[in-house]
Each structure stands twice: as C-alpha cells, then as structure tokens.
C-alpha cells in the first residue's frame, strides 16, 4: 500500500497527528517520536541537560520543545525516560548523567506479591510525576495549538519489570499465571491514573510503553496477559493511545491491532512491509527508523532511505523506532522531516 498525499487542506502538526491517529486523511505523513528525541546536542542548545531535564519541569519543557522547534517534528514528547512513575512508586533510580538515560535498579525489586502493590497517595504529586504534568501543561500553553503534545504512561508489564525485577516477574508468569494476572490488574490502576492526569494537564495523546517484546516473551504471552487489558485501557483512558513495544513484535501485531488502540510504535526489527501487511488499517503504525545502526551511526542519506521505505510501505506516521540515542546527530533527525516533505511534494507532482 503506497500512501498518496490526500487532497486535504494544509494542516498544522497537531491536526496532522490527530488525524493520522484516527486513520483520517492528512496533508502529509506526520513525523513524530512517541518515545523521546532528547539528544546531547539538543540539551546543549537549550541548556537543559540530563539528569535535571528528567526531574525539573522547566528543563523538561525546554528540551522537549526542541523536537518541534529544532527538528520540525509534529509531536512534542516531554517524557524522555520510562521511570518517572516507577520513581514515584518507590523504585531505586540511577539518575545517571548528561550522556546517559536514568534507569530503575531492577535488581533491587520493591514488590514480590500482589498485596505488596500499593498506589502511593502522592503518585501524581511526587516530584518525578508532577514535573511531567507541569511540563505538559506548559507545553500545551506554549505550543498546544500547533503541535501534538504526547504524554507517556507506562503499562503494567513494564512497571512489573521495574517493581518486581525482570527475572522474578517473568518466572511468575510460568509459576503462577493467576498471580501474574492479579499483579497486572493491580498495576493497571497506576497506568490509568497517570494517563488521566496527563490528559487533564493537556496531553493530546499518550504513549503506553509495555515491553512484552519478542526478545523476551512469545506472542501468545501478549494475547494471554495483555491484549484484554490493553483493550480496557482504550475505554478507560479517553485519548488516542500509542502502544510502544521494542524488538521483534510482528508475531503479536494481529493481537495488538485488535485492542482498539490508535497506534502501534514499532521497531526496525520488523520490516515496514510485513508490519503493514499484518495490521492493515486496523491500527496506525508509527516508526520505524533504526536507532543504533542508522540514526546514531550513519548519515542523512541512510536515514532518507529508511524514511522512504516506511513511506512506500504505507506507514502512516514516520519517526525513530524508539527513544533516540543521546549522541544522535541532529542532522540525521532533521532528515526525517525533510524526506517526508520532499516525498510528498514528489507524489503531488506525479
């Protein structure tokens, strides 16, 4: 399926993204990254560095805005990591430095049983979640008319890795699947609460990372443990939801496409053609420019080729496959928008 420029009036980034998430016609393919476009170069440019930019709303705002002001993307994503709510839940976080992402110390689990799972009273007022809400509110006020503000709320599977530890959590799925389901059910509330708060703050859409990746678990696992819950999120969180799962996922894309989520942010381990073929028009795909080998290590020509592969396969929203490496050259990121615009111009001439 080759996506043609639709005869629709010119749109701004926000209109373009929201239309593409609904599966409606767009003036051109939106460019976005629903995970993170923070890089060291961008940090230097606006004086908002890691780790502070993950914890200080003003710096988070400044760094996030560069996705639009410097790169020309159609989305702004202020949550650069996946640990904001895990910090609020009590996980020990290694905040790291300017040139590295913060990570939960997953080898220091805080929970072992379903009854251990407690939603803290300060989930939404904890400094590491509140800064997200404050940054979204400020971005909405400053850029909300022109560009889509995308928030991020972690799914229960990923929260499970952080709070139970990866190995105990995965072993639980075999040893006691019912217990696993009870844990996921309890953690679901965290996903919903933080998601609703971000909508209230001004988010137009939400990324919902839930790393049930083919690198760790089978496609059947997704169907058994997550498909129904992800379907429930669509009812419980009233905005377009973008599911993000890294790695090889084509074996579960059919299940994902049935959840009712607006979009699936997919990894370059799945080709655009095979992915579009599986999901068809049931869900909008977002992706899938390779990060470590292309955006980080190659040049704009290589980026251009991958963007074209996605456009020609009919991927409706184009962008990096995941949070871009912090040392990614800005020129490579700018090339995504440039190529998308050029391609649509060529299509309209043809």
């Amino acid at each position: 399926m080759v996506q043609k420029a639709e005869p629709v009036k010119p749109m701004n980034g926000r209109q373009r993204v929201l239309a593409a998430l609904r599966g409606d016609p767009v003036d051109r393919t939106p460019v976005c990254n629903p995970t993170s476009v923070a890089t060291v170069e961008l940090m230097d440019l606006v004086g908002a560095h890691f780790p502070e930019a993950n914890r200080d709303a003003e710096k988070m705002f400044r760094l996030a805005a560069t996705g639009y002001t410097e790169l020309g993307f159609d989305t702004i994503m202020p949550v650069f990591s996946i640990i904001q709510e895990s910090s609020a839940l009590g996980c020990n976080i290694q905040w790291e430095s300017k040139d590295n992402w913060p990570t939960a110390r997953m080898n220091e689990p805080i929970w072992a049983e379903p009854d251990d799972i407690k939603v803290p009273a300060d989930l939404l007022t904890h400094p590491d979640t509140k800064c997200v809400l404050d940054a979204i509110a400020k971005l909405k006020k400053e850029y909300g008319e022109d560009v889509a503000i995308v928030g991020k709320t972690m799914g229960p599977w990923t929260l499970g890795y952080h709070c139970f530890g990866v190995e105990p959590f995965l072993l639980m799925s075999l040893d006691d699947p019912d217990k696993m389901k009870r844990c996921l059910e309890r953690m679901k509330e965290i996903t919903i609460l933080f998601g609703l708060a971000q909508i209230e703050a001004g988010a137009d859409a939400l990324t919902l990372p839930d790393h049930a990746t083919g690198d760790l678990v089978s496609g059947d696992y997704y169907a058994t443990f997550l498909q129904e819950m992800h379907t429930e999120f669509v009812d419980e969180i009233p905005c377009p939801l973008i599911l993000h799962i890294c790695g090889r996922t084509v074996d579960r894309m059919d299940y994902i496409a049935q959840t009712g989520m607006a979009a699936f942010h997919f990894d370059s381990k799945n080709t655009p053609v095979e992915s579009v073929e599986v999901v068809k028009e049931r869900i909008s795909l977002i992706g899938n420019i390779n990060n470590p080998e292309t955006l980080y290590a190659k040049n704009p020509d290589a980026v251009r080729q991958e963007v074209l592969n996605n456009l020609e396969a009919g991927v409706p929203l184009v962008g990096p496959e995941c949070a871009v490496p912090l040392q990614t050259p800005i020129e490579n990121l700018k090339e995504i928008t440039r190529t998308v615009c050029d391609w649509h111009k060529e299509q309209s001439v043809v």
Partner: protein
Amino acid sequence: MAKLADIENEFIRQEIEEYIERPDERGHLIALYSKISPEMQTLAAGVIDGQHEAVDAGTQAALEDGVEALQIMDDGLIAGMAIVGIKFRENFIFVPEVLSCARAMKAGMKHIEPILSASGIEPVGKIIMGTVKGDMHDIGKNLCIMMLRGSGFEVIDLGVDTSPDDFIDAVEEHQANIVGMSALLTTTMPNMGRTIEAFIDADLRDDVKFMVGGAPVTPEFAEDMDADSYGDNAVECVEVAKRMIEEFEAEQA
C-alpha cells in the same frame, strides 16, 4: 549410527523430534542421548521441562546411588541445557521458559559444584561477565551466564553497572582470560571500548579475550572497539566462548 529409538526416555525423544530441526544437531543429540543412562535422561528431561524440585531430588538421589558428580553434570544437566539452548535460539521457547530451565539446572548444580570443586575438576573455562558501567540491564547477560554454566563454564558474574576497574580486578583475582560485556543502551555501549582501553592501559590486553553483545551492539561496533568477538544471542555466546578456549589452547600448543 544411533537412532532416535535408541533413546529410552520418551520425553527426550519427543523433544528431539519436535524441536531439533538441523540435521547435524539432531544427529549429535541422538548420539549423545543414546549413550546416556535412563536415570540421567530423566534428570535431563527435568531440566528441559523446568522441574527444579525434581532435578534437585534427582541429583541428590543419583549422588546417593554412587553416580559420579561429573557424570551427573555432563549427562544430566548439561545435556538437558543443550536442548534448551536450541529451542531458545529457534524461538520455540522464550525467556521465562529459559529462566525456569536454568533454575532447574541450578537446583542440581548446588549439589554438584562443591564435589567438583573439592575434587579439583577444572571447568571448561573461566569467564568474567558483567553489564558495563552506567547500564542497569542484566537479563541478556544473565541468559548468557545461564547458557555458559549450562555448558560447563565457570562464570564470575560482576552484575550491572560494572566499571573497567571492576573488570580488571576480577580478571586478576580469578585468573580468567575471557571477559564478556553486555549493554542494552546506545549510551552505555561505548563503555565496552573504554573497558578494553583500560585493559590496554593496565598492560593486560594481550592476556584477555573480549566478547561483547547486547541489543544495540553490532559486529561492526564490536570490531571498532577492538573486541575479539561478538555474540548475537545467548547460544552464540557459548559458541564464541568455546572458540576462544580452542584459540587459547592452540596458542599454548
């Protein structure tokens, strides 16, 4: 030539029939298992099926029956992990199942290791493993360690967020000559190169071979960093380690 029917344990026969597709691997496993006693086949089946309590009890019982510790490890535990590794590589099973099998193997090894250690039996090789500085992710490294131990290697696990100095100290303390480094983040994978540089600065580079891996790591990146080898997955990690041992032996010959 041994045939599948020569293997007494029905579960093992089914596993080989259903999951081992490559003719060379199938032939090797049939030859291996046809020589293994029914008791050890049962133990191997327990490992493949992730039955840690059964493997724990089976290992104890075999020792009490006078079976040599080394034979239990080779014919029961390692033989079982050989099938697990192939099933994992071919995506018949995923990480939860491998964790379960490794737990079963560990339940047997806890009885075996002290005996082997006391009798001075050398492991296949000794490897230092760690996730590099700044990286908290350990599932990939841990899978490699499980597969390495499941193949008879002694592995010293340095955990996550391992500094170059920690790698150097461990090599010196344990007299190991293979170092495995893992990274999941693009931001931390350059620390593999920095670790290798630290070994050069410490004048230890020639004594050690480095193998690297992790989701964002590529063979090209490994070469740029001057690593000796790259492994794409936990099963390949074992193959790489075995090759390194052979190279060391050839160098010494």
